[in-house]
């Protein structure tokens, strides 16, 4: 007879502090190495920079000790490391832009956004004592998400930048509302699916071993698909549309465990993508640049060509296995090296070794999210944590896949690393929510312990029938082998 015991959960705040020190060392080391690589001397303000980063990180750590003592110990250090690497890369690209007389000063703005994001994450952790309160705002979140998505279409505040209508500019401050809409939608989908998952999972016919949903239950997925296609058509934003649709399909799958939803989702996506690629020139151009990247005609196209993609690929190629080193490459030759193509810049200067380490950070982050989803006890928390982790994972896949020419370039930003205030704030809020849910997931359930049976008392394992006030064996007749069940 073997007994299975789960390990005792350690709160892990001490481990977190240790990892946090390592993450801060990485952030400051990147900053110092950028200074050495570009100007041959250590940046003069390195102490202030390191001190500021440490204050921010330790502040969140203390908030966790205070308000979420059982939160996951790995999420925060990984996020701090990614943010530090991103800041250093933007700082490094600023140097290159300055040398070429181009618009620069991204690093200072990103630093300010980092401070705002970290403070906002701390506020979320302090104010939101229990993630289940968010379930009350299920439909509010849905409406807010929809409003945020539609905001760039409002004349007057919506701005068209680089062919995509995803920006809103109010009083000189521009932001991308879609970044916040993804959190609102994750809350909405989690709240909606936790109520309706049984209908979606159980009703409907079974065809070829596949559990198909009823036609009337297809409504929500069709609405979300329509909305994401509308985003694609009206705002010309391939990435956001892909992210929302992927999020919904993934959460449907999480909620119902029905593979049929994934297949239906994929089919709808293929139909939508095929339609968009033929009907809209900007989407068609993306596909063209992806499939025929090295064609001179495509490469030299002034707008919508593959020049950016191919330059990024050559940048990563010159980085090789170990990279050129911070400040030694030429990432500025790629347009948008600080935002959309920051992965190519990192691949050039840190090489394959560094880039894979960074991808491992994302992998660990997503794994922590899914582990939280497994561990938390309420269905809403499970879906929300799973959905938020999936957002981070899908976004990373779409960006890195686009830059490395696995899929067409879509124009999402790398979480935590790429330049962009809205994205940074939204992703830090996602981290705060994941930390909050993981606190709930890892907290030992002392009040509601199930009594363990005393040795020697028989325990009915497996599916022992519990309907049994009847005679032994229940009143169900034994099925005869050979008769169709």
């Amino acid at each position: 007879m073997a007994t299975v015991q789960p390990h005792r959960v350690r709160a892990g705040r001490g481990v977190e502090l240790g990892l946090l020190v390592l993450a801060l060392v990485i952030g400051v080391a990147s900053y110092v190495l950028v200074g050495i690589g570009t100007t041959d001397k250590v940046p003069p303000d390195v102490l202030e920079y390191g001190f500021g980063m440490a204050v921010l990180a330790v502040a969140v750590h203390l908030v966790l000790r205070w308000r979420a003592p059982y939160a996951d110990p790995v999420i925060l250090p990984i996020t701090v490391a990614l943010n530090g690497i991103g800041l250093a890369m933007i700082y490094r690209i600023d140097f290159a832009y300055e040398a070429r007389g181009r618009d620069h000063g991204f690093a200072d703005r990103q630093l300010a956004w980092t401070a705002i994001s970290v403070l906002l994450a701390a506020v979320v952790l302090i104010l939101l004592r229990d993630h289940r309160t968010l379930r009350r705002y299920t439909y509010t979140a849905g409406v807010v998400g929809l409003a945020l998505i539609l905001l760039p279409l409002v004349p007057g505040i919506g701005v068209l930048i680089n062919g995509a209508r995803i920006w809103v500019r109010v009083g000189g401050i521009g932001f991308q509302p879609a970044e916040f809409a993804k959190i609102a939608f994750a809350i909405f989908f989690a709240g909606y699916l936790v109520t309706h998952r049984d209908t979606l999972a159980l009703a409907g016919p079974k065809v070829l071993g596949l559990h198909l949903p009823r036609a009337r239950d297809l409504g929500p997925i069709l609405i979300v698909w329509g909305a994401s296609v509308a985003v694609l058509v009206l705002e010309r934003d391939l990435g956001t549309s892909l992210l929302f649709f992927g999020l919904f399909v993934a959460m449907l799958y999480l909620a119902t465990e029905r593979l049929s939803w994934v297949i239906i989702g994929m089919l709808l996506f293929v139909v939508g993508a095929g339609f968009a690629a033929t009907a809209f020139s900007h989407v068609g151009a993306r596909f063209d640049a992806w499939l025929h990247a090295f064609d001179p005609a495509v490469f030299d196209k002034a707008y919508g060509g593959s020049g950016q993609l191919v330059r990024g690929l050559f940048g990563m190629g010159s980085g090789g296995l170990f990279g050129t080193g911070w400040g030694e490459g030429r990432p500025d030759l790629v347009p948008f090296a600080e935002s959309d193509f920051v992965v190519a810049s990192l691949g050039e200067e840190l090489g394959l070794t560094g880039l894979i380490a960074i991808l491992m950070f994302y992998l660990i982050l997503a794994q922590r999210g899914f582990r939280t989803a497994i561990g938390v006890r309420d269905g809403f928390g499970k879906l929300l944590a799973g959905g938020l982790a999936f957002i981070v994972a899908l976004q990373t896949f779409v960006v890195v896949g686009g830059v490395t020419r696995v899929i067409p370039v879509t124009g999402l930003v790398t979480p935590f690393i790429a330049y962009g205030g809205s994205s940074l704030v939204a992703n830090w809020v996602i981290v705060a929510l994941l930390l909050r849910i993981s606190d709930e997931a890892r907290r030992p359930a002392s009040s509601s312990r199930i009594p363990t049976p005393i040795a020697g008392v028989p325990v009915l394992t497996g599916g022992a029938r519990t309907d049994g006030d009847g005679p032994a064996g229940g009143d169900q007749p034994t099925e005869v082998i050979g008769r169709t069940p």
Binding site: T3, S30, I78, A81, M360, R371, A472, G473
Partner: protein, 163 residues
């Protein structure tokens, strides 16, 4: 700064990144493996000193029970992986909650079969089940000797005796 220092710094930085990755994974290792499985039967029973005068013979129980099977293992079916330690009493298989092994199996009867020791050997006996009991694809009509490692099919489940 010399070329060598710069190279060392560059590689040292990459090593630092991987140190964070690997330490994070080391922290998560508990999570990946999750549970600890203790075999209760293998645990040494602490014996009071002086009761066993001859500590030179460490494994006498092994030698007294030379080759008999020690457990009944479900190798297929809904309860796959379940292990029942065998003693000297019979094991009753079926869907009834009073059975030793309660099978959650629509093709097994309430009291399906019995596995019992007799004369240093284990036998299997069908208790008038609907779908029958099979030892190595032969339907059991009368009590049949059950050698170690021979599969017994009961409904959808397959069981076997193991050492």
């Amino acid at each position: 700064m010399s070329e060598l220092t710069i190279t060392l710094l560059r590689l040292g930085y990459l090593a630092l990144l991987w140190v964070l990755v690997l330490t994070s994974i080391a922290v998560l290792r508990r999570d990946l493996y999750g549970t600890r499985i203790t075999d209760r039967r293998r645990r040494k029973v602490p014996q009071p000193a002086g009761v066993t005068p001859a500590p030179a013979s460490p494994a006498p129980p092994r030698q007294t029970k030379p080759s008999g099977p020690s457990r009944l293992v479900v190798t297929d079916g809904p309860l796959r992986g379940t292990i029942i330690p065998l003693g000297s009493s019979a094991v009753l298989l079926g869907r009834a909650p009073s059975c030793t092994l309660v099978l959650d199996d629509d093709y097994s009867s309430s009291r399906h079969a019995r596995i019992y020791p007799q004369g240093g050997q284990w036998f299997v006996e069908d208790l008038g089940s609907t779908n029958g009991t099979f030892v190595a694809d032969q339907r059991v009509e009368a009590p049949t000797p059950l050698p170690t490692g021979t599969p017994v099919r009961v409904g959808q489940s397959v069981l076997e005796l193991q050492r």
